[in-house]
C-alpha cells in the first residue's frame, strides 16, 4: 500500500462518520476509549499520562512567557536576542519545545498593537504559554480576529485609539508568535520577578495591552 492510498479523503471521512455516529456521545468516554486502546496496546503507561497532565497543569504555562517578557524589559541584550531569534532566546530558560521551534516575538509600541490568531486551526506556542485559552480556540475568535480586530479587542476591554495601528498575525505556518507588551510606566527599577507578575497571558497573545493595572 502506498502512502497515497493510505490518505484517501473519502475513506477518512467515512471512518470519521462511523466513529462519530457510533461512539458514545460523551467526549470523556471517547477519550477513555482511546486511552484503553493505547494502554492495552502498550503505547503508553497510565502513569505517563498522569505525568503529562501534571506537566501542563502545574509546570508549563503563561508564567513561562511572563518571565521571558520581564527579562526582555530589563535586559537590552536579551531583548535584542529575543526579537532576533525568540526560539534561541527562550532556550536560556529551557522553555523551548512543543510548537516553539520557530518562535517570533512581535513588539507593541505606542502606535502599534499586535494580535495573534490561527484561523485554520488553533496553533499556539504550547511550551512557552501552556494550553491555549478556550476563547482562542473558539470559532468566534478565529473568524473575527482577522476581520474586525478592534471589535474583538473592545470585548477584551482594549479600546485602541485610532492612531494605533493593528497587526494581526495569523499563525497558520510553523512560526508561532509571542506578543511583547509595552513595559508599563511606573515600574522603573523593578526586579525581573516583580515585573513578570504583571505580564498576563492575554497580553502575550495581544488581547490585553495595558499592563499598568497590576501596579499599586
Amino acid at each position: 500500500m502506498t502512502q497515497n492510498e493510505k490518505r484517501d479523503r473519502a475513506k477518512v471521512a467515512e471512518i470519521h462518520r462511523q466513529l462519530h455516529n457510533h461512539l458514545p456521545p460523551d467526549p470523556a468516554l471517547r477519550v477513555k476509549a482511546l486511552e484503553s486502546l493505547a494502554v492495552e496496546r502498550g503505547f503508553v503507561a497510565r502513569e505517563s499520562l498522569d505525568a503529562w497532565v501534571e506537566a501542563y497543569a502545574e509546570r508549563i504555562g503563561p508564567k513561562r512567557g511572563a518571565r521571558v517578557v520581564a527579562r526582555a524589559w530589563v535586559d537590552p541584550d536579551f531583548h535584542a536576542r529575543l526579537l532576533d531569534n525568540a526560539s534561541e532566546a527562550i532556550a536560556d530558560f529551557g522553555f523551548e519545545g512543543n510548537a516553539t521551534g520557530h518562535l517570533k516575538a512581535v513588539e507593541n509600541a505606542a502606535d502599534l498593537h499586535n494580535l495573534v490568531v490561527c484561523t485554520l486551526c488553533s496553533c499556539y506556542p504550547f511550551s512557552l504559554l501552556g494550553m491555549s485559552p478556550p476563547w482562542y480556540r473558539s470559532a468566534a475568535y478565529r473568524a473575527r480576529a482577522v476581520r474586525e480586530p478592534r471589535a474583538v479587542l473592545a470585548e477584551f476591554g482594549v479600546d485602541l485609539a485610532a492612531d494605533v495601528a493593528v497587526r494581526v498575525w495569523d499563525s497558520t505556518a510553523e512560526l508561532r508568535y509571542l506578543v511583547l507588551p509595552q513595559r508599563p510606566a511606573g515600574t522603573e527599577g523593578w526586579a525581573e520577578e516583580r515585573l513578570a507578575a504583571l505580564v498576563t497571558r492575554n497580553a502575550m497573545i495581544g488581547t490585553a495591552r495595558d499592563l499598568s493595572g497590576g501596579i499599586a
Binding site: K6, I15, P27, L34, E47, W52, V53, T119, D170
Partner: protein
C-alpha cells in the same frame, strides 16, 4: 481543501467568551486527551496529516464539538486509517473495559516529560535548493483557487495582493507533507492591508500578516 475549518473573516459568530485566566484543562478528559496526543500515534503521522484529519471531520461535528474531542476523533480515525486498530476494536474499547494486552512501556515521571517537551522542539526548516523567488518589499498576489488536500493559504487571503516583509528560508511544505512526501519551499511573511482583504470599510494602516509558502504566491 475549501472546508468549513477555514473560518478567518466569517461573520455571524457571537461575542467572544472572554477569560483572563484558565486552568490548563477545563475537564479531566481534556488533560487525558492532550497527554494521549503526545504519546500515541502511528509511524506515518505528521503534523500536517493530523491537521488534515481534523479538516476532514464531518462539518457539523467540526462546528459543534469541543476542541479536544476533535483531537480524540482524529486520533481514533488516524489509528484506523493507519491500520493500527480496526473500527470495531475502537467501538468495543468505547463500551467495555479492555483486558491488559501488551506490556506497558516504563512510565515517565514529570521530569522525563519536561525533558520530552524540550526535545519536541521541531525544526521545520530545510536546506534551500535554490534561492527564493521574492525579496523583502516585493509585491505579490496569492493564488485565486483552493487546491485539493491539506493546504495553508486561508480562503480570505486568496487572490489578494500583499507585500513580502520577511523571508524564512525553506520550510516543509504542508501540501506535500500531508500525503507523506517530504518537500520544502521558501516561506515568507506577507503583509496584507486590511482594506485589501475586507474592503474600503476596514481601517487604513491595519494589516494581517500571514506566513505563506512560495507556491501560494505569484509575482505582480
Amino acid at each position: 481543501m475549501d472546508g468549513l475549518h477555514d473560518l478567518g473573516g466569517k461573520e455571524g459568530f457571537g461575542p467572544i467568551a472572554v477569560t483572563e485566566e484558565d486552568p490548563a484543562f477545563q475537564a479531566d478528559w481534556e488533560g487525558r486527551m492532550y497527554a494521549l496526543s503526545q504519546t500515541v500515534g502511528a509511524e506515518d503521522w505528521t503534523i500536517d496529516w493530523f491537521r488534515y484529519l481534523v479538516e476532514l471531520l464531518p462539518p457539523e461535528a467540526y462546528i459543534t464539538i469541543p476542541y479536544f474531542e476533535k483531537w480524540c476523533l482524529v486520533a481514533l480515525t488516524g489509528l484506523v486509517n493507519s491500520e493500527v486498530a480496526t473500527q470495531e476494536e475502537i467501538l468495543r474499547a468505547g463500551s467495555t473495559p479492555q483486558s491488559p494486552g501488551q506490556p506497558s512501556p516504563p512510565p515517565q515521571d514529570i521530569d522525563t516529560v519536561l525533558q520530552t517537551v524540550r526535545a519536541k522542539c521541531t525544526d521545520f526548516s530545510r536546506p534551500q535548493e535554490r534561492g527564493p523567488a521574492f525579496q523583502i518589499g516585493d509585491a505579490v498576489v496569492t493564488q485565486r483557487h483552493s487546491v485539493p488536500g491539506h493546504t495553508r493559504l486561508p480562503a480570505y487571503a486568496r487572490g489578494r495582493h500583499g507585500r513580502v516583509v520577511a523571508l524564512h528560508g525553506a520550510h516543509l511544505l504542508p501540501d506535500a507533507v500531508w500525503r507523506g512526501v517530504e518537500a520544502a519551499a521558501p516561506l515568507y511573511t506577507i503583509r496584507f492591508e486590511a482594506r485589501e482583504l475586507w474592503g474600503p470599510d476596514a481601517v487604513e494602516d491595519d494589516a494581517v500578516m500571514l506566513d505563506l509558502w512560495e507556491p501560494y504566491l505569484l509575482g505582480v
